[in-house]
């Protein structure tokens, strides 16, 4: 079970209400605020003819540098006696038009070509990607400035050009999304169903790119506004009323009339800020449907500490005394916080034991809590999980309330872990050797550590340890990678090995080899093994004892033969019955072949 599975577990009974991204956006204070500011500014801009006290270029000689609040000059006058309020209103419109043009052109070009390139692929994709990459590397501001004589300097035409420079980002985004969608199985299914390309694009592809496009539109708009203002600040198109020109005017006056800078810069900041915040809030709303969970600050580093059980988690069985076994778990609970403040228990009062040198299989279907149980023992559950138990001990050492450092030392030595997906569990940026050497406990010289690792690699059946030592993960096969991970796990001579579906991602032939290796190593090191799996073949091959879990509870445990031959619990019986019998082979004839048979007769 991977992290995504954990999330599925967490979300499993989240209310099925389908709050749209927009509604989720409105639940965020920042989003609402940004939306409100933006809407107000747009309204101000639209109502300019009604609201403005003067035309923006009107100047009254009596109102040069008039203070704010002068009747008819709410924000005062600038150094030429122009009404700052009227100029602000007009500038809002200029900014909004800039945003519309810049973002509009950027979106049209970027989305249009992105859709085509992503969906058609092949040469179209190659050519347009090349062109847009080229466009992306243009120093756009410099080129816009250079093209100033060509555009005639109106902000509209400048924004059209700038729109083209904005397009590559959108193009990349849309193209990559579309390429992703194009490879989705549901698009394949639609194609097989005979849908036309146009229909697939509109029905399946556009839906996916919609959200990201809205988000980038907000950022593009803010970029366009910024560039327009910046150019005007520099003096390009200075005759046009705009925030840039206003800022520039105020900049000159900065020492005598600093308040004038507040209007221009302030409104510009409001406009840009609301766009960016809106984009961010919408992105968050899209990304995290149950983002209210975030109430609790999420620490990404560190793991959940296992707490002693408290009274609100009643023991299903009376707490047994800690046995002298290798692993002792009594009344383990794992809970995750839910969006509405409640907690969901994914492991409910599980107790289990692993004796030294014993291989115990932990079976169950997805969502049964078997992986959560295993990770509890490793102390590797995410921080937001709350874990409690009456007893949890490895080799007599209690893990309850153990702080991170002590858990880490324990993991480096007494407990080891073999994951499911071998490739995903190796750091792609480091050589196999360096990753394994790092895992070895300190006190060993680099030379010794390297020798040890090479020996280990040889031990796990890697034919050319030296070469593998120097290789990067992508240079070795999945089966090899799993051997490397096993080597890493047993390097510290652990007493307890926790293997989470160690062969599920592998082909059967490789699986057989890995199972052999695990059995050999277990015998050699005398490790106790807790093997999490859903494959009864693997259980039959490796395990001494089996524990069956369902919905976070332990339903049955017993000797491997008794579980297979005399399952007690109805669920176990159902599981065993579901195993496809090797003896039964489909015998009913195919109607078609039967007909051919008749025809042959």
């Amino acid at each position: 079970m991977t992290t995504t599975d954990i999330e599925t577990v967490v979300q499993a009974d989240a209310p099925a209400k389908r709050a749209g991204a927009l509604r989720r956006l409105l639940r965020r204070p920042l989003g609402v605020m940004a939306l409100f500011i933006l809407a107000s500014l747009i309204v101000l801009g639209l109502l300019e003819p009604v609201l403005n006290t003067h035309p923006p270029t009107f100047s009254s000689l009596q109102h040069v540098n008039a203070p704010p609040g002068t009747p008819g000059w709410p924000f005062g006058g600038d150094q030429y006696g122009r009404d700052i309020w009227a100029r602000v209103l007009s500038s809002i419109n200029v900014s909004l038009i800039s945003a519309l043009i810049g973002a509009g052109v950027g979106l049209m070009v970027g989305v249009g070509f992105g859709l085509i390139a992503g969906y058609v692929g092949k040469r179209t994709d190659a050519v347009s990607s090349w062109v847009f990459n080229l466009l992306m590397t243009f120093p756009s501001l410099v080129l816009i400035i250079i093209l100033f004589p060509v555009t005639g300097g109106t902000f509209q035409s400048t924004m059209v050009i700038f729109g083209f420079f904005l397009a590559p980002g959108i193009f990349r985004l849309v193209r990559n999304l579309v390429v992703g969608v194009r490879n989705e199985l549901y698009v394949d299914a639609a194609r097989v169903s005979g849908l036309s390309n146009r229909r697939i694009l509109t029905r399946h592809v556009l839906y996916v790119v919609r959200g990201p496009i809205i988000i980038s539109a907000a950022f593009l708009a803010s970029a366009a506004i910024g560039v327009q203002a910046g150019l005007a600040f520099l003096g390009f198109g200075a005759a046009q009323v705009s925030f840039g020109a206003m800022t520039s005017d105020a900049f000159v006056n900065i020492y005598s009339q600093p308040v004038q800078l507040v209007w221009a810069a302030g409104f510009l900041a409001l406009l840009n800020g609301s766009l960016v915040l809106l984009g961010n809030a919408y992105r968050d709303a899209l990304a995290a449907p149950q983002a209210t969970v975030k109430r609790r600050p999420r620490r990404l580093l560190g793991e959940a500490v296992i707490k002693p059980a408290v009274s609100d988690t009643p023991s299903s069985k009376p707490a047994a005394d800690a046995t002298s076994g290798l692993l002792t778990v009594r009344n383990l609970w794992v809970k995750y916080p839910q969006p509405h403040g409640s907690e969901k228990a994914v492991v409910r009062g599980v107790s289990l034991d692993v004796a030294p040198g014993e291989i115990v299989g932990l079976v169950g279907e997805s969502g049964s809590g078997k992986t959560q149980t295993a990770f509890s023992v490793l102390g590797l559950l995410p921080k937001e999980a709350s874990v409690s138990a009456d007893a949890l001990a490895v080799a007599g050492e209690s893990l309850l309330d153990k702080h991170a450092g002590a858990m880490r030392r324990l993991r480096g030595s007494a407990i080891a872990y073999i994951p499911q997906e071998p490739m995903a569990n190796l750091d792609p940026s480091f050589t196999i050797g360096s990753q394994l050497v790092e895992g070895l406990s300190a006190g060993m010289s680099r030379r010794e550590a390297k020798d040890t690792v090479l020996q280990l690699l040889a031990r796990v059946g890697i034919t050319d340890p030296v070469r593998t030592f120097k290789s990067y993960p992508h240079q070795i096969s999945g089966g090899m990678a799993q051997r490397v991970l096993i080597a890493g796990a047993v390097a510290g001579r652990p007493k307890l090995l926790i293997a989470d579906e160690p062969t599920t991602a592998l082909d059967v032939t490789i699986q057989a080899e890995i199972l052999d290796l695990l059995r050999d190593l277990q015998g050699e090191y005398g490790m106790g093994v807790l093997l999490v799996t859903h494959n009864f073949g693997v259980v039959a091959d490796l395990c001494d004892r089996v524990l069956v879990m369902r919905s976070g509870e332990m339903v049955e445990s017993g000797n491997v033969r008794s579980i297979f031959h005399q399952p007690q619990h109805p669920y176990t019986r159902e599981l065993i019955a579901s195993i496809l019998d090797e003896e039964t082979v489909r015998t009913d004839p195919a109607p078609g072949s039967a007909r051919t048979h008749e025809e042959a007769l």
Partner: protein
């Protein structure tokens, strides 16, 4: 790798060629009355015609372009119409100014944004909120205002740094640093926010990956997981963001140069443009694109170095 580099260099040359040709034909098409602007108010038609002939502006456009291209290939970018300074010489004097600012700003950006991003990803909570706040403010807070504020405090009140101008490194490294540190700080504020957010996001992605859990299962320290493994893997996406940042800063340097009166590439581009100084404009676009090509190449090399998959295949 070598083939890859050669291909990138080739593509870069094509890019340079395309952009300069683009600039040439467009600016030519804009029909800027160069001679009139040069000679000013009192010149008569005859003097203008003479100057046009002197500058070769009476020749057909393709001939002019060919002349520019051949002389450029010989390393001669021509002479500015307006300052009468060889364009190459002017750019050689001005690029170091802008590059100093941009490079120092980049270094600050990388250091600070990595620190912020790491802290935010690792600690979350308050630091995360602070980062969000900073990035929002940085995004909306006009750099001009910040620039003015910094000048007022550090140059005028405290007199720790000069208010304007640039001192070449060769003249005095310490004066050089003082002359560019404020522009660099103003320039990198926005970039830091964006980069830190990027680093944070990538780091969070990396920390959620399975290999991190496996590293933990072997007792690897959180410090090593964060700073060695996760950061290394997060560096790739951050690098791409950085390259765009760098190019962006190069454009934004224009505003900074105005506020701090730095004789840089941006002001040169600005002047060339408003004067219609064709040779200077072409030189500007040549160097601008050339620089972008070089930066992208370096980023590609760095990305290749970071990504063993790209490096080993």
């Amino acid at each position: 790798m070598i083939i890859f580099l050669l291909r990138r260099i080739g593509a870069g040359l094509v890019l340079i060629f395309v952009v300069t040709a683009f600039t040439f034909f467009l600016t030519y098409g804009a029909n800027i009355p160069v001679a009139r602007n040069l000679l000013g108010n009192s010149a008569n038609a005859e003097q203008i015609a003479t100057l046009n002939a002197q500058l070769g502006l009476d020749k057909p456009i393709f001939e002019q372009y060919f002349r520019w291209l051949t002389s450029t290939l010989h390393g001669d970018l021509g002479t500015s119409y307006f300052t009468n300074q060889p364009v190459a010489e002017a750019l050689a004097a001005r690029l170091p100014v802008t590059l100093s600012v941009v490079v120092v700003a980049s270094i600050i950006t990388i250091l600070v944004s990595c620190a912020l991003g790491v802290a935010s990803a690792a600690r979350g909570g308050i630091i995360d909120s602070i980062l969000q706040g900073i990035s929002t403010i940085a995004f909306v807070f006009p750099g001009i205002v910040l620039g003015i504020l910094l000048v007022f405090i550090f140059a005028i009140q405290l007199q720790w740094v000069p208010a304007i101008g640039y001192v070449p490194f060769a003249e005095s490294p310490s004066a050089w640093f003082l002359s560019i540190i404020m522009p660099a700080v103003v320039l990198c504020i926005g970039g830091i926010a964006a980069m830190a957010a990027q680093v944070r996001g990538s780091l969070i992605d990396e920390l959620g990956r399975e290999y991190v859990r496996t590293l933990r299962s072997r007792g690897t320290s959180e410090r090593s997981i964060l700073l060695k493994h996760a950061l290394r893997n997060a560096a790739g996406p951050a690098l791409t963001t950085f390259s765009l940042q760098f190019i962006g800063m190069f454009g934004a340097a224009l505003f900074i140069e105005k506020i701090f009166a730095l004789p840089g590439y941006g002001t040169y581009a600005f002047n060339a443009t408003i004067q219609g100084d064709l040779p200077a404009m072409l030189g500007v676009s040549l160097f601008g694109v050339g620089l972008v090509v070089v930066v992208n190449l370096l980023v590609d090399i760095a990305a290749g170095w970071l990504n063993p998959k790209a490096r080993t295949s």
